[in-house]
Amino acid sequence: MSDNKYSLEFLLEMYRKMVLIRQFEDRVKFLFLEGIMPGTIHQCQGQEASAVGVCMALNEDDVITSTHRPHGHAIAKGVSIQSMMDELFGKITGCCKGKGGSMHIGDLDKGMIPAVAIVGGNIPLATGAALAFKMRKEKRVAVSFMGDGATNEGAFHEAVNMGAIWNLPVLYVVENNLYGASTPVGMVVRTKNISDRAAIYDIPGVTVDGNDPIAVYEAAQEAVARARRGEGPTLLELMTYRITGHSRRDPALYQPKDEKQRAKENEPIGRFRKYLVGNDLTSADVLDKIDAEIEEEIEKVVVQAQKAADPKPEDALEDMFVESI
């Protein structure tokens, strides 16, 4: 991380958002292990810096699309954690009225199109949103978050090509956590970097340390500015690591122990704490206090979510058709 040029307020907001994501994910994990939370979940512990760095470079009316691993993106874009927790419990007060669950988290009012669990499925959606912005002459930007595995899908290549030929205001953000589920990325991608693939569409491709929220923020800011100027998309590859299983029941035995150990030492929150405290930008006490406040906030959210009302059977027939747009 370079010399600091940001206000303490900005840096602490970055820290707070990353911790909020981590604690939300950890709390959900324990609810699941206890058998209290139904379904399965795909979690993003270790990948917080990419979601936060990118979303902090966006305006409120910019939109994001996400994947089967959407909790971090949603929190970073400002979706309320109460509406997310309610959704995970299948409650009527959830952000999708309990009908979507973990893999369809979203809130259009906050600029998050509900997540698409089909790998690569959200990439054309973000491209379409960007096309709409361009046609309406709005200075808004769309972001598609995806994993490394998605870049081998046809939808990726079709959408990136379309974004490129029409200079659409869109960011293709690849969170490269080195594994597509259990498959090492090197086994299925020939190029050294995924960002190298940008060359065939003649758009900028950048690989950034995805565990450094400031580096991510700066790269995203540049790509967003370019998109807003009408100069087209950027392929942003953020190098990161998932320090949890692919899904809740995955012990991730394919991740070698020494690699996992190194990744834990390089995880973004611990690193950012060291940066903030080591450079005398703040004290460990201040950060601990933020951690404690968030823990309390999440505890309240869990209690409230468990008390919330379930949808009624007849609610299943609601929201089937759009009657007017």
Binding site: D26, F30, E34, G35, R249, P251, L253
Partner: protein, 85 residues
């Protein structure tokens, strides 16, 4: 109150697990997410993480025991706290 640690749902068709190795001793401090023991399903060995913090108060099974899903295998709580017999 001491919290029950149960064998979680570890996947489709996993009905029982074998406790391979306890990683904590009674009296040890336990944080949320600490590995309490290693268990083996019919597919793989995996870590069983604590869903409570405090002290490991009691282990209900020895290493090598085969245990059904949802069975209480340990209690975690405050030091000196009573646990059900």
């Amino acid at each position: 109150m001491a919290k029950e640690i149960k064998v979680p749902d570890l996947g489709v068709n996993v009905e029982t697990v074998v406790i391979l190795k306890w990683m904590k001793e009674v009296g040890d401090e336990v944080k949320m997410g600490d590995v309490l023991c290693e268990v083996e399903t019919d597919k793989a060995a995996t870590d069983l993480e604590s869903v409570a913090k405090g002290v490991l108060l009691k282990k209900l099974f020895d290493e090598g025991a085969e245990v059904e899903k949802d069975t209480v295998i340990a209690y975690v709580g405050e030091a000196g706290e009573a646990v059900p017999e």
